[in-house]
C-alpha cells in the first residue's frame, strides 16, 4: 500500500497565470478524496482554469475520487470553461478511467511533459 500524498501546487510562469499542476500519489479513496476536492477547488478559486493533475504515483483511485474529478470539470464549465488534464500511465488506473467514462471528460496523458505540451498548444 502506498501512502496518499498531495504536493504543493506548481505554477509555471512561462505557462501563463491560469495553469496549475497538482501532484498526487498513493491510494486515493473515500478517506482522502475530500482533501483532493479541497485542493482542486482552491486552485480554481485562485484563478486557475487549466489544471493538470499529475497522478503518476497513484496506484488506486476509487469512485468517490472519480466523482471529485468529474465535479471539477463541471465546476470549470460553470465558470465559463477550462480544462482538467490527468497524467497517469498506471494501467489499472487508466482502465478505471475508461470503465467509468472519465476519459470522456478529461484528457489523459502518459507523462507530465505531454500534458504540458498539450496545455501550451491549447493556450
Amino acid at each position: 500500500m502506498r501512502t496518499f500524498y498531495i504536493g504543493d501546487d506548481v505554477q509555471l510562469e512561462h505557462m501563463g497565470p491560469d495553469v496549475a499542476i497538482l501532484v498526487v500519489g498513493g491510494e486515493v479513496d473515500f478517506e482522502v478524496s475530500p482533501q483532493l476536492k479541497a485542493r482542486l477547488m482552491r486552485a480554481i478559486k485562485a484563478g486557475n482554469r487549466r489544471l493538470i493533475l499529475d497522478l503518476t504515483d497513484v496506484t488506486f483511485i476509487d469512485s468517490t475520487a472519480i466523482g471529485v474529478l468529474a465535479g471539477t470539470v463541471e465546476k470549470l464549465d460553470e465558470l465559463g470553461g477550462g480544462s482538467l488534464s490527468v497524467v497517469s500511465n498506471h494501467e489499472k488506473v487508466v482502465q478505471i478511467f475508461e470503465i467509468t467514462g472519465l476519459d470522456n471528460m478529461v484528457t489523459i496523458h502518459a507523462s507530465r511533459d505531454e500534458a504540458l505540451a498539450a496545455a501550451t498548444v491549447t493556450r
Binding site: F30, S63, E98, I99, T100
Partner: protein, 151 residues
C-alpha cells in the same frame, strides 16, 4: 461452501472494523490477502480489492449512524469461488441518488458489478449485506476487456 479459514490458507475468515474512512486501507489489505491466498492472479486481485473497497465505502457512508458502528466482513470459498461479504446496519442506498462525492453517475455500484462475477445484495431489517463473488477460472480480466472495447 466452507469457511475460508478451513482451506489451509491461514487467512482469517472474518474482520470487523469501525465504520470509519480510515479503515478502508485495512479492508483493502484484508481483501488483497484473501484474494492472494485464494490464488487470483494480479488482475483478478486488483478487481476483487477494488470491488470490496466500493462495498465497504458504501457501508461506511450509508450503513452506519456514526463512527462507532461496525462493518462486518467475512469470506467463504470453495474450489472455484471466492465470496466476500460486507454487512452493515443500514439500508443500502443506490449510488445513483447520491448527491455528493460519488456522484454524478453512480459509479460505485456500476464498478462493483463490473469487476466481480456476481454481486448479491440482501437487505433485511437488521442491515444490508453485499456479497461479491469472484470465480477462480476467470473469464478474461474485466479491466482488460473494458480497455479493449474502449480502444
Amino acid at each position: 461452501m466452507r469457511a475460508f479459514q478451513d482451506t489451509a490458507t491461514h487467512a482469517a475468515s472474518e474482520l470487523h472494523v469501525l465504520a470509519r474512512r480510515s479503515e478502508l486501507g485495512v479492508a483493502r489489505k484484508y481483501a488483497e490477502d484473501v484474494a492472494a491466498a485464494f490464488g487470483l492472479d494480479s488482475d483478478g486481485r486488483y478487481e476483487f480489492v477494488y470491488a470490496v473497497n466500493e462495498a465497504v465505502t458504501n457501508a461506511i457512508r450509508h450503513g452506519a449512524s456514526d463512527e462507532e458502528d461496525m462493518i462486518h466482513m467475512s469470506i467463504a470459498a470453495d474450489a472455484e469461488r471466492l465470496t466476500f461479504c460486507v454487512r452493515d446496519r443500514g439500508t443500502f442506498v443506490m449510488p445513483e441518488v447520491d448527491a455528493d462525492e460519488s456522484s454524478p453517475g453512480g459509479r460505485g455500484l456500476a464498478l462493483m458489478a463490473s469487476l466481480v462475477d456476481e454481486v448479491d445484495l440482501h437487505i433485511d431489517p437488521g442491515g444490508t449485506t453485499v456479497r461479491l463473488t469472484k470465480l477462480r477460472a476467470a473469464s478474461p480480466s474485466v479491466l482488460e476487456t473494458a480497455q479493449a472495447q474502449a480502444g
